[in-house]
Symmetry: C2
Subunit: 106 residues, 2 copies
């Protein structure tokens, strides 16, 4: 069972759930109302999100509130870091080219 954050985020429904609970905790029932699937399917998604620690639960009576572990999202950001370096360099190089053209026009 491969279960990492990238695989978790690959599913569009799971991405929508993540966005939904990013700002406020919600129960599975409340979450399911936002989608065109059964509550059980949402429950499965929540299990996957919980397994890779993207989501935390808080029991409140018979209700369970799910909310986003925002810090875990930084792992994606961390992986992107290496590419951010590249595209910033590329941008600077483009900048150089543009200023060279500008100089030549003068």
């Amino acid at each position: 069972m491969r279960r990492d954050i990238f695989q978790a985020v690959a599913d569009p429904t799971r991405r929508a759930i993540i966005v939904l609970i990013a700002l406020q905790a919600m129960t599975p029932n409340a979450i399911a109302e936002h989608f065109d699937t059964t509550r059980q399917a949402v429950s499965k998604h929540l299990r996957i999100l919980t397994e890779c620690e993207l989501v935390k639960q808080e029991q409140q009576g018979r209700e369970i509130y799910y909310s986003l572990e925002i810090n875990k999202m930084k792992e994606i950001d961390k992986w992107l870091e290496q590419f951010r370096k590249i595209w910033e360099t590329r941008f600077n190089q483009l900048d150089k080219v543009l200023s060279t053209i500008k100089k030549q026009k003068k």
Copy 2:
């Protein structure tokens, strides 16, 4: 056929390919040498990456050089933007709490 950048990046081999060709273009054969799979499997991954425009090809005789479409990677960054806002806010709030504690100590 669901084919978006998040699904493309979900597979660890594809992520490794992306990193590999981020800085220099490579042929499928050269890429395959870095992995414990057949050239055809790599070819399949390259097809998926091409389909969601994460990768571009450049034919050179009978060889095809694949390189990363670095700009496409920004789409992930764009999606992360909304969470970045949240975790920066949380950090600032934590900062406030810390400075409050500091003041109380005084």
